[in-house]
């Protein structure tokens, strides 16, 4: 479950982003923590409101929230496409607000990649040239970047359309070009703004698998925006839920559905089938002293990294009060209370 290590790659410290005529001057005049409506009444939009967040190396953080809740803006602050109004963003320990233009360009050339919500393809370049664009900016030579770009175009399944221009492609195909382009430089930190929104379910699934593979393999840090909860569940290590510019809760998917921090999050996740989200380990209570040998004697343990839904049949048929849960190596780590698990399975309030 945890593919992450502790050291944060991106650290947001109380960042704010206001849109309006004189955001800096206005922000300085604010006292305390004013709410969204007050700021709005003053003619400003608080697209990001007092967000603190730390993203560890190799982590995949999924940001969710309604349209206009500030997801894209938050991500743009993290890579300094827009300047924050207040607060600080640290990338690998450096305050990127303080980087010189040159240092920023270097950082982006070597470390960052982004897929844009509206694809942002260059209309006058072919698919291949679009994908090669970041390589060209880095000054890589022609043959090398051609080969690399071709490889990426194949990866996203656009082989045979290398010479097409963006306007000759469908929306989903254009989006794949955007994905291929961001992959071309193998960024360590990857910002994905609804990268699969225009894809059909089949290709979407393929792309998700590809992302998971890359992340597993290369340990990328990924910030991912989506409106699709299923997608979030498949990919996320943690999910951040935003509302009116502020983060309501950042947590693992299990805890978001089991223990929503606010009413808003509860409503947001209301329609989610909890059994599909919650893993056996999360519900299990840890072993107490001496219980280990008893548990093993009690019969076959169930795999902890399965969801309750996947274990449904077993749970219904198994009549033990506490079912032992094992980790990936087969060692028993806890005991799953059956009644609680069944409550989750049938969607009852615990």
């Amino acid at each position: 479950m945890t593919r992450t290590s502790a050291e944060p790659v991106i650290l947001c410290e109380r960042i704010w982003k206001l849109f309006g005529d004189h955001p800096d001057r206005y922000f300085a005049s604010l006292t305390g923590t004013p709410d969204y409506e007050k700021i709005r009444g003053d003619g400003y939009i608080a697209a990001v409101r007092d967000v603190s967040l730390s993203i560890a190396k190799g982590e995949m953080l999924v940001i969710m929230g309604l349209s206009g809740s500030g997801k894209s803006t938050l991500v743009r602050c993290m890579c300094r496409l827009i300047e924050v109004t207040a607060g600080q963003v640290r990338v690998e320990g450096f305050d990127i607000g303080g980087l010189s233009e040159k240092a920023l360009i270097d950082l982006r050339r070597s470390k960052m990649g982004m897929v844009f919500q509206n694809f942002a393809l260059l209309p006058h370049r072919t698919v291949l040239q679009n994908v090669a664009f970041p390589l060209e900016m880095r000054g890589q030579d022609r043959v090398e970047r051609h080969d690399r770009a071709l490889e990426m175009v194949r990866l996203v399944g656009l082989e045979g359309r290398e010479e097409y221009f963006p306007r000759e492609l469908s929306g989903g195909q254009q989006q794949r070009v955007g994905i291929a382009r961001s992959l071309a430089i193998e960024p360590d930190i990857w910002f994905l703004d609804e990268p699969f929104s225009a894809l059909d379910p089949l290709i979407r699934r393929e792309m998700q698998d590809e992302f998971l593979r890359l992340q597993e393999l290369l340990g990328k840090t990924i910030v991912f925006i989506t409106h699709d909860f299923d997608e979030a569940l498949r990919l996320a290590d943690r999910i951040a839920i935003m509302r009116d510019g502020a983060i309501e809760q950042v947590d693992t998917p299990d805890r978001i559905v089991l223990e929503p921090a606010t009413d808003y999050v509860r409503k947001f996740t209301e329609d989610v089938e909890k059994a599909r989200v919650v893993h056996a380990t999360v519900l299990a209570r840890p072993l107490e002293d001496g219980e280990a040998s008893d548990a093993v004697r009690d019969g076959n343990p169930i795999p902890g990294d399965s969801t309750i839904l996947a274990l449904a049949r077993q749970l219904v048929n198994d009549h033990r009060e506490f079912i032992p849960v094992a980790d990936a190596n087969g060692a028993v780590t806890g005991l799953l209370p059956r009644t609680e698990a069944l409550a989750v399975l049938f969607g009852e309030q615990p």
Binding site: G113, Q117, F133
Partner: protein, 658 residues
């Protein structure tokens, strides 16, 4: 339907304020009328601008001009620039028509140039454009106008790239830095409403006369639209595309070179089109400052009333105009198309190969048959004899009618109208304009109007300006009388409007000079001819915008009218015209601009307005006087522009259309 509903709502909201505006405006106009009626009782200083009001602007301009030119040594800069332009002109002159200058390899055979033009036309837009392009050059060569045409084209070839580069640089700077835009905007506004001659006088002072002066005045004149289009294009680049450039680690220069400019390609190429058309218009007019070529020939022939020959030249100019316009427009609209992946080098470059083949062929043919190299004067065809015959016949046929019309117009319309304009005390004109301004845009517009015309009064050219005003206002009314019904008729069906729009588009590409040929043919050289030219020139935008306005009326509104049982006429009167009116007013705006330019150009066929004085200033190279006169014309245009734009945007907002 929704548009109507919201329109009413919006109008309801802003009702209160316009009422007060209009009431005050009416009072001001009433005062103006009272002053006019009581003219005999007014002190003279309220009838004509008194001495103390007239400021010596011309002297100040001349003084600062001389300071910049001599004391700051700016003349050396312009001389050096002119020298490099001249060098480029010599190179193109050698290549195109064999002037004896470096690199001394010309002239390129006319057949080679014609096939090259045809191939370019084909690449840009297929066979029809290829035919037009090739045909233009065949006509020019066969009619024995090669040398003049090439003199004209060589200036365009040199001047257009300068204008384009200058426009790109300034436009980019304006797009990046708000203060540059703020600085450039008023300058561009004035520059785009200054008549052609106002540009020529300073150039004559700095550079002298001849081809290089013609080229430089062309460069200066053609740059403003390029700046505008570059700015517009760069502004329109989607922000995500730029952000993507940032994320790919592009430096500022890379961002500009690889992201911003290519993405703004269409607008920039539309700018190139405008530059080239402006160049052509100016090159033809630059004959007034000794620029050889088609314009000069036309000027001489027109002054000698050789109608047949001038028609021939006119056709050449029109062909070149249409050719240049179609090619650059096709270029702007061309979208890249991909080749199949397995295509060979030959597949990809087939047209290049064909072109090289054709060039080699024509070069060889030119060696064998000299006529394929250069068509000599003695070998050239001419249609001037039959043309002259036909024209004479037509003139004899309709002469009684034109004679009568001319006499009638001059005696009963033009002279009384002119006298009336001149009779009006200047204070009442100022008040009248202020009143109209107040009705349309409140206090600010009233001040703007009064200030523009107040400056004209202070320039000392009030009477001349009134003559220009009378000619323009009469012409605009006539243009409306012709253009509006024509537009309404054409907008009746898709086919008709397509055809009329095509005619208008084509006519708009003609250099203004061309419009003088038919009117001189019909009316000779006098005021009526000038008005005729202005009206013809001005009818084109009038018609065009009427059609566009009527055709853009939302379908839902028409359906709603149909359902209410409106007859066709009721529909036109109550729905289509009111909704189209803001667009039509934009047409009126252009008509005024076109008319102002044309009135000034028409000066050389004998008018007594600002244009005539401007010609005098040109021949005595009086920069101050020329610029003051030019600014007077510009102020008239800017005032009308201010009023109409103000009115039509408010109206559009109220109607809920944009």
């Amino acid at each position: 339907m929704t548009a109507i509903v919201t329109g009413v709502g919006a109008e309801g909201n802003i009702r209160a304020e316009p009422d007060a505006r209009i009431r005050i405006g009416r009072w001001i106009i009433l005062l103006a009328v009272l002053l006019a009626v009581g003219r005999f009782a007014l002190p003279p200083s309220l009838v004509r601008p008194p001495e103390w009001l007239v400021w010596p602007f011309a002297d100040w301009i001349n003084f600062s001009f001389n300071f910049v030119k001599d004391d700051l040594g700016f003349i050396h800069v312009t001389r050096a620039f002119a020298a490099s332009v001249e060098w480029l002109l010599d190179v193109t002159a050698n290549l195109l028509y064999g002037r004896n200058r470096w690199p001394r390899i010309g002239p390129i055979p006319w057949t080679t140039i014609a096939v090259t033009a045809a191939v370019v036309g084909y690449v840009l837009n297929g066979w029809r454009l290829a035919l037009l392009s090739g045909g233009t050059f065949v006509w020019i060569a066969v009619m024995g106008q090669w040398r003049w045409s090439m003199e004209t084209l060589s200036v365009i070839i040199v001047a257009a790239p300068f204008s384009v580069c200058l426009g790109l640089v300034l436009g980019t700077a304006a797009a990046r830095r708000p203060w540059v835009e703020r600085l450039l905007n008023p300058i561009l506004n004035i520059a785009q409403s200054l008549p052609h001659f106002a540009y020529m006088i300073p150039v004559v002072v700095f550079i002298g006369v001849g081809p290089k002066a013609g080229a430089i005045v062309t460069i200066v004149f053609a740059t403003p639209p390029m700046i505008r289009m570059t700015l517009l294009g760069l502004r329109k680049v989607p922000s995500e595309i730029i952000e993507n450039g940032h994320m790919c680690g592009a430096t500022r220069w890379q961002l500009l070179r690889f992201v911003r400019i290519p993405t703004a390609r269409t607008e920039i190429l539309v700018g190139v089109n405008q530059v080239i058309m402006q160049c052509l218009a100016m090159v033809v007019l630059a004959s007034f400052i000794g620029m050889p070529g088609l314009g000069q020939k036309l000027l001489q022939l027109l002054q000698a009333l050789k109608i047949g020959r001038s028609v021939e030249i006119g056709i050449s100019i029109v062909l070149i105009a249409v050719w240049l316009d179609r090619c650059t427009k096709a270029w702007a609209q061309r979208q890249p198309v991909h080749f199949h992946r397995d295509s060979t080098w030959l597949d990809r470059h087939r047209i290049l190969v064909v072109w090289v083949g054709l060039v080699l062929l024509t070069l060889a043919v030119a060696q064998i048959w000299p006529i394929a190299d250069v068509v000599k004067r003695s070998q050239a065809l001419t249609i001037s004899k039959p043309l002259d015959g036909a024209v004479d016949w037509v003139i004899v046929m309709i002469d009684p009618a034109t004679q009568w019309l001319r006499g009638f117009l001059i005696r009963y319309v033009l002279i009384p109208m002119r006298d009336a304009y001149l009779w009006l005390p200047y204070v009442s004109v100022l008040l009248l304009l202020a009143g109209i301004g107040h009705m349309i845009g409140g206090m600010r517009s009233a001040l703007v109007c009064a200030a523009f015309f107040g400056l004209i009064a202070a320039s000392g050219w009030w009477d001349r300006a009134m003559i220009t005003t009378y000619m323009v206002s009469f012409s605009v009314v006539l243009a409306g009388v012709f253009g509006l019904p024509l537009g309404i008729w054409a907008a009746g069906s898709k086919r008709r409007s397509d055809i009329v729009l095509l005619v208008c588009d084509t006519a708009q590409t003609f250099p203004s000079f061309i419009y003088l040929i038919p009117v001189v043919m019909l009316f000779g050289v006098n005021d009526v001819a000038a008005i005729g030219a202005v009206v013809t020139f001005g009818t084109v935008p009038m018609t065009r915008y009427t059609i566009e306005g009527l055709r853009s009326v939302p379908e839902s509104m028409l359906e709603a009218a149909d359902m209410s049982g409106a007859s066709r006429f009721q529909k036109l009167l109550n729905v289509r015209l009111p909704v189209a009116f803001p667009t039509i007013m934009v047409g009126v705006n252009q008509t005024v601009m076109f008319s102002l330019f044309m009135v000034i150009i028409a000066a050389f066929i004998g008018t007594q307005d600002l244009g005539q004085e401007m010609q005098r200033a040109l021949s005595s190279t009086d920069v101050g006087k020329g610029l003051v006169l030019g600014l007077c014309v510009a102020f008239m245009g800017l005032m009308v522009d201010h009023l109409i734009i103000r009115w039509s945007s408010e109206r559009k907002a109220a109607l809920g259309i944009d």
